[in-house]
Symmetry: C2
Subunit: 213 residues, 2 copies
DNA sequence: GACTGTGAAGCCATTCACAGCT
DNA sequence: AGCTGTGAATGGCTTCACAGTC
């Protein structure tokens, strides 16, 4: 193990590996090779080994990796050995979908509340998750030790609610609104832009590259 | 303009530029520089210029880019000068959210139908979009010239419905199920994995790098 | 003077290929 | 013999810096 700089792409792949390893655990598989992992995630064996080697020597030469051990290690690396409190800002369709998304709960993300300004929604529940007034968000975040805010409001409102999250002391923001936002550097921040992937598909269809691999 | 290989990252950024340029049009702004675009999308000016230069000389030295012209060019590059028919497989929360997502319609993506196996949902409408039986999907796709399929079913069912899409002659698939899928090479394919970004945030929070930029 | 377009340089990530361990 | 861990080589993307144009 070396203490080099770790590519962001490596972290994204570790997340995928961890999900795949979880599947293997459920199937009762004990040992796995980098070849098998690569097959399971559409990656390459060398990359799997390199990604893991940034963090330690988890495998046994000639044998492979112990599935359960590796899963534990990878989830720990990703910070998923503890749970995280989450709020969702915006109780629209996307916010609603995310509040019910199984994949989040399974990985230790607890969505404690959603916030909106629509009086018709405030006071209701979506599944288990209460919809509260945006006015109460700051206090709620402080009191409940919320680390992550997910922004699903319109592009217009996104910077404003993000500023509120930051003011409340949030540690990380995941933004689904299609705008560039600014946050102070101590706050972790990512955009997820759904339209971007659609555009990539259309570009590739139009530029119908006749490549084979 | 050169006929080099174009980085995928460039295409993803072009999508973001196009959205930003659209905002500028709405504000009535006529001319824009690479510096301004970079500011608006959290990018660098050199990168903006390089990205655009893959496709032509759209700017005027000493002046900048004409906003409307550039917008037209970029949307054309991305294949967004025509509309695209889309179906969504899986009428759960995420499928529902995507079917109502404004960002898709604005960019010329017409969601014609959703497909599910839940008898309680089949025959209903979500907004304008009818929910139909998965059994009728293949015929529907052929008859309506559907190019893009969005998969929002469970990980278990994802490969099966993707095979159906492929059999029906779909040209591109956007998969939200957290599994690696296989499709023939002539079909454009991307995964969008929501949990991955959450994991990236937690990794960065835990490994609280004290970098400044 | 301002701002684009672009070759060259620099940087980062992936792949290769093999030594090392079981 | 099988499979990991890793330095070295490769490939690709981004940034630099400046010539070219208005």
């Amino acid at each position: 193990m070396k203490s080099e700089k770790i590519p962001e792409a490596t972290i994204l792949r570790l997340s995928v590996y961890s999900r795949y390893l979880n599947q293997l655990i459920n199937k009762g598989i004990i040992t796995v090779s980098s070849d098998q992992i690569a097959d399971g995630v559409n990656g390459s064996p060398a990359q799997v080994r390199k990604d893991l080697a940034y963090f330690g020597e988890f495998g046994v030469r000639g044998v492979g990796y112990n599935v359960k051990d590796l899963y534990k290690q990878v989830t720990k690396i990703l910070g998923l050995d503890s749970t995280w409190n989450v709020v969702i800002v915006g109780a629209g369709n996307l916010g609603t979908a995310l509040s019910q998304y199984k994949g989040f709960v399974e990985r230790g993300f607890n969505t404690l509340a959603m916030f909106d300004i629509d009086k018709g929604k405030i006071g209701t529940r979506i599944g288990e998750v209460p919809v509260l007034s945006l006015e109460d968000m700051e206090e709620f975040i402080r009191k409940n030790n919320v680390a992550i805010g997910i922004v699903t409001v319109s592009a217009r409102a996104a910077q404003e609610v993000t500023d509120l999250l930051v003011k409340a002391g949030i540690k990380a923001v995941l933004n689904f609104a299609p705008v560039a936002l600014s946050v102070p550097q101590h706050v972790e921040f990512r955009n997820v832009d759904l339209a971007v992937y659609m555009d990539l598909l259309t570009f590739n269809m139009v530029n119908n590259k006749q490549l084979q691999d």
